[in-house]
Symmetry: D2
Subunit: 324 residues, 4 copies
């Protein structure tokens, strides 16, 4: 249950009323407002809450019932959710400083807003390339400083956070950790923006509840990144539901990103999936781009080359103008 | 195995060669060419086919290996697949002549190209409205004659065909009959255009093989209509995979339609799903539109009203100009 | 809405009351009782039904609310649902009289109760063996007469019914026709027992509603045959949910069959799937058995040989004694 | 690539040969043997490995190609995989010492072999009961000391390990962390037995690769616990595929556990799912049992009461005797 004082002046009264009640509660500050969270979930007993100066909401902090207007998340000099399509591009995995510098410079020239790159890689088998780790993070920092592009990179365990802090601008939580609640709670304690992917076997409700783990810690800088779900179809890698974005829009104020690279599984389909995502209203795209995709150490089949990315970015920018 | 003579002049030689071989074969005429079909599927034994004047193809008639250029399907005065977005609109079920006439006139005014309407309705339970049957077909004919819009309506059993013949311009095979092979074979013997939906639990490969049942009878007038598939997500009715259209495009020359109404399940999402489908390259849209959706006898929640359709058609037409 | 007179004597009064009301209804005879069916589905308006001598049930005829005790379905000399495990065995497809006779005699010796065999085969592609058709039906009849085993065979269209009538003891509706409502309604008009498989993309509710199409015509001889559903798992052909049987048991009085051959997709797994189905309470098993599986014209990988079937039948019979 | 010296005496020669080659490798000790692991995955280049005294295997350590005989995992005085059905029972969440002591004593009396109980709970929303944490672990230790039952409890992050070490006998990795590779790698460095659940959206191959993360660190004490997967069926909570156990058996030497409580979602189905799992060959069952299920702080609907568990354990023990 979320309890929102009608105005800041009422906050102490609400606090007192909750103190007087028998219920345990927690106060957080989110999007510039003070909110009270109780673990009291039953709506039947709302009347027992001795509060007249507040709204009582039984939906999540992610919900438009709590915050009507769409949220912007700021990452460096980039604002996600403000109307302009934000495009993060870069390699699946950071492989070397030269590689990353070349990719960073080229995607910037072509109009990318952010640099993506994996330093810690969650690979299905332990024998696949696991990423450069801390070295990769340092390369991201260097290329970011040089190009001016803010960065996004995936975290795999909360103990890695110290490497990200101050070096990476936005932390990505991948599909496999989308219900790693220990990690999500930890990130809720930090202010750093989070790009939260959906679990490949999760519903939208479960995904929004994963976001709630971050928001309820007081960190409202969450962007929901849709990367498709598991299905029986075997001609693509994951199924990318065009219904996901309108459902998210309706149920949540959080900005939305789409990752067309993973569901495509094959570079020939990436542009079409990106177009569909923009047409259905995404605020951001995250695209895998590699200087030499066929030789990539991971996801070789789905990464775009520079020519493919250049073509894609022109088309999606033009489309965004139309769909607004 | 499909055997295609290199040119018409060679056809008798190919025929003779196949006669001389021990293999059983069948000759059909498709897209203006003569083709030979054998039930011989193993590619290992191609060398035993005594043919030098033909191509031997172990993929389906739906494949771009058999026909490289995209196919157009003509329905009345409408050409599906020719570059212009074709929009079929109308009620889920025909409910009365007045209702259908009003809808037909209004969607025509707004720019629809075809009229859709169900006379025989495959409803999950036997106690739901089952459609007006033959009467509904006759109303479709009347409204078509009046408005000039060609019609599409669903068939549920091959024995109903006599009612469609001469009255309806395009036969729809619904999701629940997408692997009703007796029906598909029957339609393969007729020339009437078929709008073939995917089975809700079928892969794209299975769906293309359903089309093959029609094509291999000599009827090449098949449009593939994607209506989403089953998934674990419960916030929409079916999952609409944005990967489906690019996969179909790559693997088949047949034109593609998208039905955003059924996967949406809720009218608020229909426009967004339609936009995504157009952005990913659909040739046609089939949209449920009702004069009074809340009172509709079926699919009440997902049918658009006239205002909703008017808004949708403007947006998708504008989008089509951009995506080409 | 199902309206069941409290006793036979009250039936005319209930009939009169319904006549007096404005509602349309239909009387059927099912399981030796007279029932009235209305298309009136809203439970809110029950009070408007002017009936005091009847139960008004808003669930299906398949439901235990309509019939509390489990139903037995009699096929020839076999009773399905009576406590004894009924086993139907035989080839995926009838290939020749010799083949079928050999299989029929052998599976009978080993203890099978019924003979299964496909004459009309719903194959994913039109170029796969489509079955022997009417000839296959006649072979089934001949082997049944010789061995005394009642038969079950799949129908693909209602127009084929004439070939089954008098020749086959139980009609199978396959997964691909599980929502072919024209066929189901037709079979509801006949008394012949039906083995109704679930659609590969259907929920249990949808499947029970497919049974309702048959029951509501007055044919109560329906056995629900679970054959697995579509999923993302690729190491078997379909996913066989052990929850399906207890859910069916709870929600319906109809007897339950399990088909372990199709979900297994591979003969090595068939016995284990059969054991699981018996342990979860199935009344019947349908097993594909072939005299020479590796050379079978269809489903070669999943058919058991005689040795495999002999081993399976001993194990499942022994298990059935324990689970009761 | 796994390289296994033909006998211990050859191990130094294999080591030298690998040193001479340009390839990076790692030596581990697993199941009493020395193995070499290279990140070299292509089987094409096996000839370049200068080894004649070893087997080169391109499958995982989980595979029967690496270890033919089934593995036993010892947890306290219990041996999992040795033929006797091991049953772990206890509450979803530890709620108090009294509750846990009562449950521990009662399930022991009824024949349970191990005590399960969650101290750290991965709940879909942050407002649900999150478990007693370290206190819950201490209660598990106390009840285990008193009853003599070894314990299994879920870990949610590698930083919690210190609380488990010495207090809990077997660490459970839940569905939501089944691809938390940082955690899996960490557990591979420890010797403690791991009960590894499948991710709700993962294939069996992916799950086995998760086990590989643990095995490749040198910890061979992994039990695979199947808890069902996501599907479109809504009458149970997860779909429990009876094919999963035979597939695991065929592909891996690791022992198998089944969790019927989570897929059932409803206590009425738990026994049937447990029976199916035993009939399909599980080595172990993990069952949620509560002293007062309707008042449970989590998973109230699916936990068994003592009477239900008493009935279940008798039936599955009897069944196990038959199926062997």
């Amino acid at each position: 249950m979320i309890i929102i004082p009608n105005n800041e002046a009422n906050e102490p009264f609400v606090n007192d009323a909750l103190m007087d009640s028998s219920m345990s509660f927690r106060k957080i500050s989110l999007y510039g407002r003070s909110l009270f969270i109780t673990n009291f979930s039953s709506t039947e007993n709302i009347e027992y809450i001795p509060i007249k100066d507040a709204m009582v909401i039984s939906d999540g902090l992610y919900s438009r019932k709590v915050k009507k207007d769409s949220t912007n998340v700021t990452v460096g000099n980039v604002k996600i959710g403000s109307g302009k399509l934000v495009i993060a591009a870069g390699p699946c995995a950071v492989e070397s400083e030269e590689q990353l510098m070349e990719i960073g410079e080229r995607v910037k020239e072509m109009g990318a807003d952010m640099l993506r790159g994996g330093a810690f890689k969650p690979r299905t088998t332990p024998y696949s390339f696991q990423g450069l780790g801390v070295k990769g993070i340092n390369m991201m920092k260097k290329v970011s400083d040089y190009t001016g592009l803010p960065t996004v990179s995936e975290i795999m365990d909360l103990s890695y956070y110290k490497h990200f802090d101050g070096n990476i601008d936005m932390i990505q939580v991948g599909s496999r950790n989308s219900q790693n609640f220990a990690l999500l709670k930890f990130l809720g304690q930090k202010g750093m923006p989070v790009l939260l992917k959906n679990g490949m076997g999760n519903t939208i409700s479960e995904w929004l509840n994963s976001a709630e783990y971050i928001l309820s810690g007081g960190n409202g800088n969450v962007v929901m990144c849709y990367r498709g779900v598991r299905s029986f179809e075997d001609s693509t890698r994951f199924m990318m539901d065009s219904g996901a974005i309108p459902v998210l829009r309706e149920r949540s104020h959080l900005p939305v990103c789409a990752d067309p690279s993973h569901p495509a599984g094959k570079r020939e389909y990436v542009e079409t999936l990106a177009m569909a995502a923009v047409a259905s209203g995404t605020d951001m795209l995250e695209i895998e781009v590699h200087n030499n995709p066929d030789e990539a150490l991971s996801d070789a089949k789905q990464q775009l080359d520079f020519m493919g990315f250049s073509k894609l970015i022109k088309k999606v920018r033009k489309l965004k103008e139309i769909v607004g």
